[in-house]
């Protein structure tokens, strides 16, 4: 009697047709589907042909699982839904059913056994698919948050020896570290004597954010620069007083404009109308 691998190979075209029909019913198929599932089926046939156990962790299945992970990850990046990717592999089970039934109907025991083997392999592959899908999505999220970290803290030279950094968004540990580095780099690069840190765009200043700010102030002082923190909202000021956060060591101003005026005063500069 034929092996499972032989059966799948013999009925390959019929299985692929049935598989595509099932996917199309769910609204999944497109022009790339056929070559993709043909590739999968051929690799599955090769994996089953070897003498090893039908276990997707076996080395003989390595080629198939590696390919499956790549397909899943690329679909995740291309924006396919996880269920559509899941259906892609699960569709094979039903598609191969009639071929298996036709070949093994004479031997019900064998029929059940081969059916169970295929089922197990496909289940294993779908779990793998799901994991690969999630991993690819998580990579995208990590990359995006890294990118946001980059764009969110620009430092600008706004006057001779005055740099400014507008902070927008939540300041968590990673961002606080980034702000610190960027600020100190800007101070030393521009040989700044005054740095303005504007927190207008920071949603909430709690004790932890205040701690991050005081750390930046202390570090900047070591480089010989004075930091002026601007943009505390009236709500933030009231709240910080209730929190008993002592910002007296910090030079603060309500607005960026007042902060800039303070910066000029520290540099003993003034801006006057001409004439």
């Amino acid at each position: 009697m034929k092996t499972l691998s032989d059966v799948l190979s013999l009925h390959k075209d019929k299985i692929i047709a049935a598989w595509i029909d099932r996917l199309a019913e769910a609204g999944d198929g497109d022009s790339e589907t056929e070559p993709m599932i043909r590739e999968l089926l051929e690799r599955l046939i090769r994996a089953l042909k070897s003498d090893g156990p039908p276990d997707i962790k076996a080395p003989t299945f390595h080629d198939l699982t590696k390919h499956m992970i790549e397909v899943s990850a690329s679909r995740a990046r291309e924006g396919y839904s996880p269920s559509s990717t899941g259906r892609l592999i699960l569709g094979l089970k039903a598609a191969a059913d009639s071929a298996i039934a036709a070949e093994y109907s004479a031997d019900p025991d064998r029929w059940r056994r081969e059916s169970a083997t295929l089922s197990e392999v496909i289940d294993g592959l779908s779990i793998l698919t799901f994991e690969a899908f999630m991993r690819a999505r998580e990579e995208i999220i990590t990359r995006q948050s890294d990118a946001m970290l980059e764009i969110s803290t620009p430092s600008l030279l706004i006057w001779d020896e005055v740099v400014m950094m507008p902070l927008v968004g939540v300041i968590d540990t990673a961002r606080a570290q980034h702000i610190m580095e960027e600020m100190l780099n800007a101070i030393s690069r521009e040989q700044a004597r005054v740095a303005i840190l504007d927190v207008t765009g920071v949603p909430v200043i709690d004790t932890r954010v205040a701690l991050h700010l005081t750390n930046v102030v202390s570090a900047a002082r070591m480089l010989g620069a004075e930091i002026i923190v601007t943009g505390f909202s009236p709500e933030a000021a009231q709240t910080l007083v209730k929190l008993d956060v002592d910002l007296r060591t910090m030079r603060t101003r309500g607005t960026l404009r007042a902060g800039f005026a303070e910066a000029l005063r520290l540099l003993q500069c003034q801006i006057r109308p001409i004439g």
Binding site: P203, T207, P234
Partner: protein, 139 residues
């Protein structure tokens, strides 16, 4: 209570990472706004959520849960904020409630500050079991 407030439900947010704190804070702001709290009161609440959320992330063994619920008391509208975790617990609550006490080089535990930000504040904690902070703000 405004009509819309009747539809407001309790919100529970699992807080294990810093990003969860932002999520809890946004939920708190939305609830405060829906209940008709002023900007200043909403900011106080958001800060309290930040403080308690920070404690969950940095001090609790497995993070914890922030829960926010509208309070429907006769004649007044309020909001309850609960932060609970399953350990390690605080051995000396009176000490933790003193200003400037921090376990990891912070500016303080945030607990005394949170008490001043909210109208009502209760804390219970058992070493090895966990900590539960219940705070309320009235409109």
């Amino acid at each position: 209570m405004p009509d819309s407030a009747h539809k407001l439900r309790q919100i529970e947010i699992v807080v294990t990472r810093e990003v969860d704190i932002s999520h809890a804070r946004q939920a708190a702001l939305a609830l405060a706004q829906a209940l008709g709290f002023s900007r200043a009161a909403a900011y106080r609440l958001a800060t309290a959520v930040s403080e308690l959320g920070t404690n969950l992330v940095f001090h609790a063994t497995h993070g914890g849960i922030i829960s926010l619920s509208p309070l429907d008391a006769p004649g007044r509208v309020g909001l309850e904020l609960v932060a609970s975790d399953d350990g390690p617990g605080i051995a000396d609550i009176d000490h933790a409630m003193c200003d400037g006490v921090s376990e990891n080089g912070g500016l303080g535990s945030g607990l005394p500050g949170t008490r001043r930000l909210m109208d009502e504040f209760e804390i219970s904690s058992s070493p090895g079991i966990g900590t539960r902070v219940v705070a309320r703000l009235w409109l």
